[in-house]
Amino acid sequence: MSGPRALPSYRDQTPEVRERFDRLKAREVILEVKNLSKRFGDTLALKDIGFTTHRREFLCIIGPSGCGKSTLARILAGLEQHSEGEVLLDGKPVRGPGRDRGMVFQGYTLFPWLTVKRNVMFGLSVNKVGKLEAEREALQWLQLIGLEKFADSYPHQLSGGMKQRVAIARALANQPRILLMDEPFGALDAQTRCRMQTHLLEIWRKIDITIVFITHDLEEAIFLADRILVLKPHPGEVQELIEVPVPRPRSSGQILSEEFLATKARLEELIHSSSHGEGEEDYPMMMTRLTPVGDDVE
């Protein structure tokens, strides 16, 4: 904890990174959240949340369990009503779910009765895009995510990572203004998760999409994000908005770079300081031995 490691401050940005942030902030605002609060009965889940995302920004929202980050994603998607405040998409208030905000969920939500291709076509066809055109577009998306060979497979024939790739394509095929991702790689194993992150950045780079990505994994957030919104729990509040100083394009080698480690150290500091309190992890473990264990291991 206290080792005098000479890390640069996470606030130090190289000129290139600073220039990139200047460009980012000069772009139009896509999503604006103002004074947003959410109450479930008597408990306040989210309090006074405010942030903006710019076009083609990759924003990660991070926080310990109980900080309401999933609730926030659901409010942005319109699946949940907020109690106070405003959510503006392109300046217009969000009411209910709509095709302008695509969403990828943590659980697998591909429609099991449709083939991969028809899953990707789903949004287009409910929004009255002609069948031929929808099919052509779906195939293009499948090509982008590298799953064109599985066009006629059913979701249960795919691995977890493939399912989430299709879910991303399904959301993007609808050409939303913003893509909401609620811990989409949470259920995947470490290697698959890593590949998915690289893959997602690749997709994000190629198309005009703004991403709001919810996660509890610090490295995932740093690896993916332009900016990281750190929430603290009980009630969920914005703790800090971090501009990630790690240059792009990102690669797995950067995980050991100074900027990366500095950012991670700062995030750890924030998350740990905030989760100390009434969190469920803070009940001390019972140290009673139920069975004799012989020698101590330490």
């Binding site: 998607a77 319109g78 699946l79 209910g96 779910p97 709509g98 095709r99 905000r101 695509g102 969403m103 969920f105 659980g107 939500t109 429609f111 099991p112 009765w113 449709l114 789903f122 949004g123 409910v126 929004n127 059913y154 979701p155 249960h156 879910a167 399904r170 959301a171 609808n174 909401l180």
Partner: protein, 310 residues
């Protein structure tokens, strides 16, 4: 040890009860509480072909022996209501090959066909109303709250209790029989299908909403296709239940169909025919269910639950 083949086990599950039945029928010292008299001897009320309790037979034989009269002869037999397997098998064959004995008699397959039609219409009418109502109750909280308490109450009313009422309203022919099957199926159907609808993973509905799906399309594009394999399974189970109402339903008004065949044969003590008729209901029931199961696997290739039972 290798786990035994599934087909062998299936065969065994039929062979074991058959073995018990055969043992009771063919092994003379198992049960056989009666004597089938072949020669009445000097006992005046005995007749060849008569069945009499073993104790009575022994008593009469002992008395005849004491008085030095001719002894009655006979073999241990089961009561007439328990025919042996081969007799039932013969009756089964005969039912399809020999003309009915009585003038007003009908062939077994004719009565069976009549029963199948009653079942079919009862089930179709019940489903036409029950499936949509069930889906509505399952997908709309309001509809469920309004509808289900009454349905829940009504399903406890035994369908046959409506027999007299059905006859008064619908006459004595097939109308009341179909009505009983509808009453017996419909209320269960609404509740079961409502429940199946509620079991649909709600995340699928939400996913569809974020893709811009609204209103009725959520029902037609997500809910209905999503529950279809389970709905199909429910319908198969409900069809099985409809069969169980059949016999009672057919007794209402003029007795018809397979029930008429059974009661008629029982009246003439042709119990082999009675068993043949009962078994054929089982065969038709199981057979149709298996065909529907096979069809289900074709219809819903994505359904993993049917894949497992394949």
């Amino acid at each position: 040890m290798r786990p035994p083949d599934k087909r062998v086990l299936t065969l065994l599950s039929f062979l074991l009860p058959l073995a018990v039945w055969s043992a009771v029928s063919y092994v003379p010292f198992l049960w056989h509480p009666q004597m089938l008299i072949s020669d009445p001897g000097s006992v005046d009320y005995f007749q060849p072909g008569m069945r009499i309790d073993r104790a009575t037979f022994a008593e009469e034989a002992a008395q005849a022996k004491q008085e030095n009269r001719a002894l009655p002869a006979g073999a241990p037999a089961n009561p007439i209501y328990l025919p042996a397997p081969h007799e039932v098998l013969r009756a089964f064959y005969a039912a399809f090959t020999t003309k009915p004995e009585t003038r007003d008699g009908v062939w077994l397959h004719q009565s069976l066909w009549h029963s199948i039609q009653v079942i079919f219409w009862g089930f179709v009418i019940s489903s036409a109303a029950g499936v949509p109502l069930g889906i509505l109750c399952g997908s709309s909280r309001l509809a469920g709250k309004i509808c289900e308490p009454f349905v829940e109450f009504f399903r406890y009313l035994p369908a046959p209790a409506f027999g007299a009422l059905a006859v008064a309203i619908l006459g004595i022919y097939d109308g009341p029989k179909i009505a009983i099957i509808v009453i017996g199926t419909f209320f269960q159907q609404v509740l079961i299908i409502a429940n199946t609808t509620r079991k649909l993973d709600y995340a699928l509905v939400e996913a569809a909403q974020t893709l811009g799906t609204k209103g009725v399309k959520l029902l037609t594009r997500v809910v209905i296709p999503g529950i279809l394999p389970d709905l199909y399974r429910d319908q198969r189970i409900l069809l099985g239940w409809a069969w169980t109402y059949l016999i009672v339903a057919e007794l209402i008004g003029t007795t018809t169909g397979i029930t008429w065949f059974i009661t008629q044969q029982a009246r003439y003590q042709h119990f082999a025919n009675v068993f043949a008729a009962i078994f054929i209901i089982g065969i038709v029931g199981l057979g149709s269910d298996q065909i529907l199961a096979l069809l289900g696997r074709r219809l819903f290739p994505w359904d993993r639950a049917t894949e497992k039972t394949a």
